[in-house]
């Protein structure tokens, strides 16, 4: 799997419009975002019981928690899937889709973890989403120039 990650990019994919969003790729995106969001929820759910602990005791408790281990595994799976996604679609498309994880994590933190999300936090997240959309738009400009934006995607979380 790691060997796959460090393989150089195929160059023919740089042609604009060549990398369209197929159902298969969309399913990969969905899987990656789902994994990333559930991993974060599992990590927090697993760690919230240990907030009084410190130092080594904290990490020992963390790695004995099934929730935390599942969270770490989910995170790795999400990252590897996301790298696969980035080879198939351009950042213009990938960034906005990936940014959905910020909405989902906040939403499910409120619903499942019973966190109180103040209005100011939602406002901040809206600005972040707007920022990611603007950056993605910039990648369209950048990818019009040859090989500028290649393989620089941000993995989720």
């Amino acid at each position: 799997m790691l060997a796959r990650m460090i393989e150089p990019e195929k160059t023919e994919s740089a042609a604009p419009g060549a990398r369209t969003l197929t159902m298969g790729t969309l399913a990969l995106v969905g899987f990656s975002v789902l994994m990333s969001v559930s991993a974060q929820l599992a990590l927090r759910h697993g760690m919230v019981a240990h907030q009084a602990r410190s130092g080594l005791a904290l990490f020992r408790a963390a790695f004995e928690s099934a929730w935390v281990l599942a969270g770490v595994a989910g995170y790795l799976l999400a990252t590897v899937t996301w790298l696969k996604v980035l080879r198939r679609i351009d950042l213009v498309v990938a960034y906005p889709l990936g940014s959905l994880s910020f909405v989902f994590v906040t939403f499910f933190s409120a619903i499942l973890l019973k966190e109180h999300v103040p209005l100011l936090r939602w406002l901040g997240i809206s600005l972040i989403l707007a920022g990611i959309l603007v950056v993605a738009r910039g990648e369209r400009v950048a990818s019009a120039r040859p090989r500028a934006a290649e393989n620089r995607g941000v993995p989720p979380s």
Binding site: L43, A62, G124, V135, R152
Partner: protein
């Protein structure tokens, strides 16, 4: 506990993740083609790859530490700083130009993160 006291840990975790990704990219660049066989290929990729893995592991440990003490909805938005980090890495390492929409986008993301950091 005041969640702002955990800001150094959260930001440290995000910074490690950004540097980890840059290391992976460096490993890809160093590795080049595989024409001269697997062993030579792995030898070129390995140093930066190991640094990247180490950075990702540190990022995860710091993140786990932070999540024991702050809410997920407070911590997670900071991950969006990695978009800014990757832009900066592109600017300084790959000498890409910072055209206006990248600067505006990065400014919006940072502004959003500042609002989140004030929300407790």
């Amino acid at each position: 506990m005041n969640p702002q006291t955990l800001l150094p840990v959260i930001l440290g975790s995000v910074l490690c993740a950004i540097c980890g990704q840059v290391s992976f990219k460096t490993a890809t660049n160093n590795a080049g083609a595989r024409a001269d066989g697997w062993v030579a290929f792995a030898k070129r990729a390995l140093p930066a790859l190991l640094v990247g893995l180490l950075l990702y592991a540190s990022s995860m440990l710091l993140w786990i530490f932070a999540l024991a003490r702050v809410e997920l909805s407070f911590a997670f938005p900071f991950v969006s700083l990695s978009y800014v980090g990757i832009l900066l890495a592109g600017r300084f390492r790959l000498a890409e130009t910072m055209h206006p929409s990248r600067i505006w986008g990065a400014a919006l993301i940072v502004g959003g993160v500042v609002l989140v950091s004030l929300s407790s």
